[in-house]
Assembly symmetry: C2
Homo-oligomer: 346 residues x 2
């Protein structure tokens, strides 16, 4: 009898926010590793906002997940069979195994993870793609300077918390935005933000802007963009001349009907966006971290020791069981998680 | 009896497109130059799209023209009195004299112009602020590479024609957009664009995009932005990964009701704009040339000999008489000019 594994397939494309019916938890045959391939039993998988984009059939930097295909995700787990001499059973590795109990990939597409150096879960968050995204975007496109002011939303998330902590270490004022009083307290107490505003406490972009203005008396030099929408509308008029906006995501707009030119979003308007870039001499740079893995060793060399020393904090939110991944993902898109969203499979 | 001059004052702020009643042509006393000041009789003044922005009472990189104040403009003319030893009567100089027959400014705010080197009018266009804007924006933020494809609108204007000619000289494919068949022919025949599309010939951004796609078989690497609106919507989906968008203006949106967040513009939407910047890894940079006059000597050193040698062409559209400046300006905002819009005063 063929051994089985489980995966979560994309059953249908969502219209707006994903629903349970868009996902299908099902068994499939456990693959046998081919030449150079490694079979891994996934212990933890990552849930990230970018996965919402892969569910749409829109041109992007990555192909959409096909209907019936396995939802995309990074995961970390134990090697159980290997045809690559660099990996042996019992080793641990990170790879894009998908929303799945097991993954079979060429060894050259895996990254070795040492569970003695740091908990396995950190390879999905603070020392993985999200942490790297925050560090790279801030350093490369944010061009932080001591004394400047930075704003980032989802401040307790794995990207925002990295951005804030790196900015603070470089001598910037860091103001976070998060959903709810609990997360705001965590941003200040755990991650060292100078202040954190609860976006749910403001009825309009205008009210949020006034509160931000109070917390950013010298204006905003860097807005690390991961949400779009009302936060962007609030931030724009406060940007200083020659400000920088690295864009790594726009979670507030991921469910906006495929984001074609007809998407209805009240604010900011496109002319207001463009005008602010012009009259404030802003530098706006979109980036996707998968183009920049060559810098990952630099990131690890700088940040891993700080995590080990407790100088960089992190928060994780762990759901249990592959079958619960869709619910955790849908909740995360609404801000229901606190810290890096992970699913524990073993 | 006090000697008189004439100027055009901002009578009221426009709602949308400027109207004749927004301007007032009136006499005022001719100033007497103070210490270090120079009095100039303006021969030619410049009309530029940015002046529309100065008519609004919105926060920008420059203060708005006050009601009753002289409309802002650069001009070139003859020194008729001077308290600066660097200028003597009979010299010619460029300065921000406004929409006015005469101007009185500190000598250090003037730039000497030699009418033996090039016609006076070139100091307002091809060898002045607009030409410099095109050259600087392309070189600094466009980062052109041989073999790439560039798109610029207002292709026969003083900015667009400079951008196209510099791009061609660097080995890029240059595709222009202009209003009307005559301008399109001029873009190709006079300025050497590989192709030029008449935006009036397309009913929608989608149709314009298809025509652009035909002319840009390898996609678009640089979109030099000076119009916004439908052209931007057409260009965005054709941008190549790591494309660059220098923004020096957005004339299509200048009359959009002050461009606040409530401005109604059908396309592109803000989420579509932001999403394209993200998924195509675009670099978008707003700039205003007045921050970069330190580079003007480099520009002149490179471009003035090419203009003298006929290697860089230019077109001028000259209106006669200060009193006709408002009509020429209103026409220019609708694309009624062909080439750099100038007003001849003497």
């Amino acid at each position: 009898m063929t051994e089985q594994m489980y995966h979560i397939a994309l059953a249908s494309r969502p219209e707006g926010a994903p629903e349970p019916a868009n996902f299908r938890h099902e068994p499939k045959a456990l693959p046998t590793p081919g030449e150079g391939e490694v079979l891994v039993r996934v212990h933890y998988m990552s849930l990230d906002p970018y996965m919402r984009g892969r569910m749409d059939d829109a041109k992007s930097y990555a192909a959409p997940v096909p209907i019936g295909g396995t939802m995309e995700a990074g995961g970390v787990g134990e090697v159980i069979a290997s045809n690559d001499p660099k990996f042996k059973p019992g080793d641990f590795a990170f790879g894009m195994f998908g929303w799945a109990s097991h993954g079979c990939l060429p060894g050259k597409m895996l990254r070795r993870v040492d569970p003695a150096q740091a908990p396995l879960t950190t390879s999905l968050g603070v020392l993985g793609m999200p942490g790297f995204t925050g560090w790279y975007g801030l350093m490369q496109h944010g061009r932080p300077q001591r004394g400047e002011t930075l704003v980032v939303a989802a401040a307790t998330g794995p990207v925002g918390s990295m951005v804030g902590q790196v900015a603070k270490a470089l001598g910037l004022r860091a103001v976070g935005i998060a959903g709810g009083a609990e997360k705001c307290a965590m941003a200040v107490d755990k991650f060292g933000f100078d202040a954190c505003l609860d976006h749910r406490a403001y009825d309009s972009a205008s009210d949020l802007r006034k509160a931000l203005a109070d917390q950013c008396p010298n204006g905003i030099d860097i807005y690390f963009e991961n949400v779009g929408g009302r936060v962007l509308a609030a931030v724009l008029p406060l940007m200083n001349p020659h400000g920088r906006i690295p864009i790594c995501g726009m979670i507030a707009w991921y469910n906006a009907g495929g984001l074609g030119s007809g998407a209805q979003v009240a604010e900011p308007s496109a002319p207001a966006l463009w005008r602010n870039i012009l009259v404030r001499f802003l530098s706006v740079n979109g980036f996707i971290i998968s183009n920049h893995w060559n810098r990952f060793p630099d990131f690890l060399a700088e940040i891993a020791p700080k995590v080990a020393a407790g100088e960089i904090a992190y928060a994780e939110d762990v759901a249990e069981g592959l079958e619960n991944a869709p619910a955790a993902f849908m909740s995360m898109l609404k801000g229901g998680n606190t810290g890096k969203q992970i699913v524990k499979l073993v």
